[in-house]
């Protein structure tokens, strides 16, 4: 892994960004829980190397959308096409093995395990040696374990969490837990990274750090990122495109500037009376 720090946060508003083909295509997704429609015919797509933000008020269906994409919820209608292969419903582990990783709104780390073990667990899918070799912990199994340890250490370096690698994550402060969770998702070397409110509950500096990690991941590994975030200044700064959800429906889809100018969005979400820099939330 190259040095991640020699490039500062770049201004995505002005730089020319190159995007590849459509990586994920969400088409007409609907899901309801006991009569309440959480998502109602939502369609959008994400292209390779893009940073896409999903915004919307609480209960707009943002988390449900991520849950559908990685197969935790099964939409009643619609198709999700990932890497060209369409799925009506995806199984969670299937999504994982195809290269979708995510973090959670409420941290979902393995609290009894150390930082290192959490990140190593993220690599489970990449490890192949069978049960008997593992029981011996010798030869090929040891070699495999060490290879993956080296990869995990690269991620630990990248996220600057060397000092806590042996600490049980349950004991870490909130901000660091979020970082470890990002690390665990990265360990799977995903093509698509789903981040559910990666900056919730963080102070200004922690948010800046997290923004930098997200942009670096996007830059260095070319990982496509879909994120949910409430902090509008962050969203407008780091995302290439913004999808706005409201009451389970898609309200707008476009570059941050377009969305900011969209009258529906202003009325429904940002609010007419809000100040100019768009701090609609928090």
């Amino acid at each position: 892994m190259p040095e991640p720090m020699n490039e500062t946060t770049k201004d995505t508003m002005t730089a020319e960004r190159m995007f590849g083909d459509v990586l994920l295509d969400v088409d007409g997704i609907s899901i309801s829980f006991g009569g309440v429609k959480a998502l109602d015919g939502v369609s959008f797509n994400v292209r390779e190397h893009e940073v896409l933000a999903i915004i919307g008020p609480n209960g707009a269906g943002k988390s449900s959308m991520l849950n559908c994409i990685n197969g935790f919820y099964h939409p009643q209608e619609g198709t999700i096409t990932f890497k060209g292969s369409p799925h009506h419903q995806m199984q969670t582990h299937e999504a994982a093995s195809q290269g979708i990783a995510r973090t959670f709104q409420n941290i979902a780390l393995f609290k009894g395990m150390s930082t290192l073990d959490n990140i190593m667990t993220g690599r489970s899918l990449k490890m192949k040696k069978n049960f008997l070799w593992q029981a011996l912990y010798f030869g090929p199994a040891l070699k495999e374990e060490l290879e993956h340890r080296a990869k995990a250490e690269e991620i630990i370096d990248f996220l600057e969490i060397e000092a806590i690698r042996k600490t049980p994550v349950g004991k870490l402060p909130y901000g660091l837990q979020k970082r470890v969770e990002l690390g665990r998702a990265l360990a799977a070397e995903p093509d698509l990274l789903l981040l559910d409110e990666p900056m919730a509950g963080m102070n200004h500096e922690e948010k800046e750090d997290m923004c930098r990690y997200i942009l670096d991941v996007n830059d260095e590994f070319g990982t496509t990122i879909v994120l949910i975030e409430h902090d509008m200044s962050v969203v407008m700064d780091i995302s290439d495109r913004v999808v706005v959800l409201d009451y389970g429906k898609k309200l707008a889809d476009g570059t941050p500037d377009e969305v900011r100018a969209n009258q529906d969005v202003i009325d429904a979400y940002l609010g007419v009376s809000h100040d100019e820099n768009g701090n609609g939330d928090e």
């Binding site: 829980f33 988390s63 849950n67 409420n106 979902a108 559910d196």
Partner: protein, 311 residues
Amino acid sequence: MEFLNAVFVAPFLDIADSPVFFAEVVIGGLMSGVMYSLVALGFVLIFKASGVFNYAQGAMVLFAALTLVGLMEHGAPLWLGLLVTLGVMVALAYAIERFMLRKLVNQEGIILFMATIGLNFVLEGVGQIAFGSDVKRLDVGLPDKSFEWKGILLNTFDLSATFIGAVMVTSLALFFQYTPTGRALRAVADDHQAALSVGIPLKTIWVIVWSVAGAVALVAGIMWGAKAGVQFSLVLIALKALPVLILGGFTSVPGAIVGGLIIGVGEKVAEVYWGPVFGGAIESWFAYMLALAFLLFRPQGLFGEKIIERV
């Protein structure tokens, strides 16, 4: 072929042959079912209010019954015995809160569960040291006469026991649903911290629940004890409440009642009609297997709500 016949055909022929006998078996099952419900209710109360899976409920039944018998052996009249035993159960509840629960706040469920296993041993030991470990007769003065009703053989003791059990269960259900204390109990069950933050005294609530569970244990202990003698095996009978809980759901009062009845009847019917095919004594595991089979189809229990998982 013969085996299939014995499993799938013969028992039903037997039932059709003698409906009166079948009715007697069912009624017998219902009666032990009420007892199971009573013990299960103790579990449910404690689980709802403190999130503790109280393995010691069975030992509490034994402990309560032993205390009552012990007092009566020393010449105390029934009413005094009952009163003092009730007092002992409240004191026990207080002690459990003070010396165990309070120190284990915020521990995981499994740790609390293990602690109640420890408690179980302590109660068994203390009860038997204080009041001896031989089988004791308990006579609470309920009439014990058999009579016939439409050809079905019934017993006044069983009937009154069932009646008392039913009253107990109903009043507890009402208490939970309609009194302020009941509401506070349910609030604590949902979320300890949130309940504390609206001013519900957690410790008092715990003492109350464990006391009520103690009282329920006392009633169950009296019923079983009067029927089968007060002895160590009461603890094992109480274990039968576990499949009842699985069937009814850990947090549902009606579930405990219905589950108890189903297990009671199912077990008796299975033992009488299917037991011989399998070599008898299937009562030891039938309830568990029934509950297990049931779980595969409805993991949340009879009255539990389907859980929507969120991340």
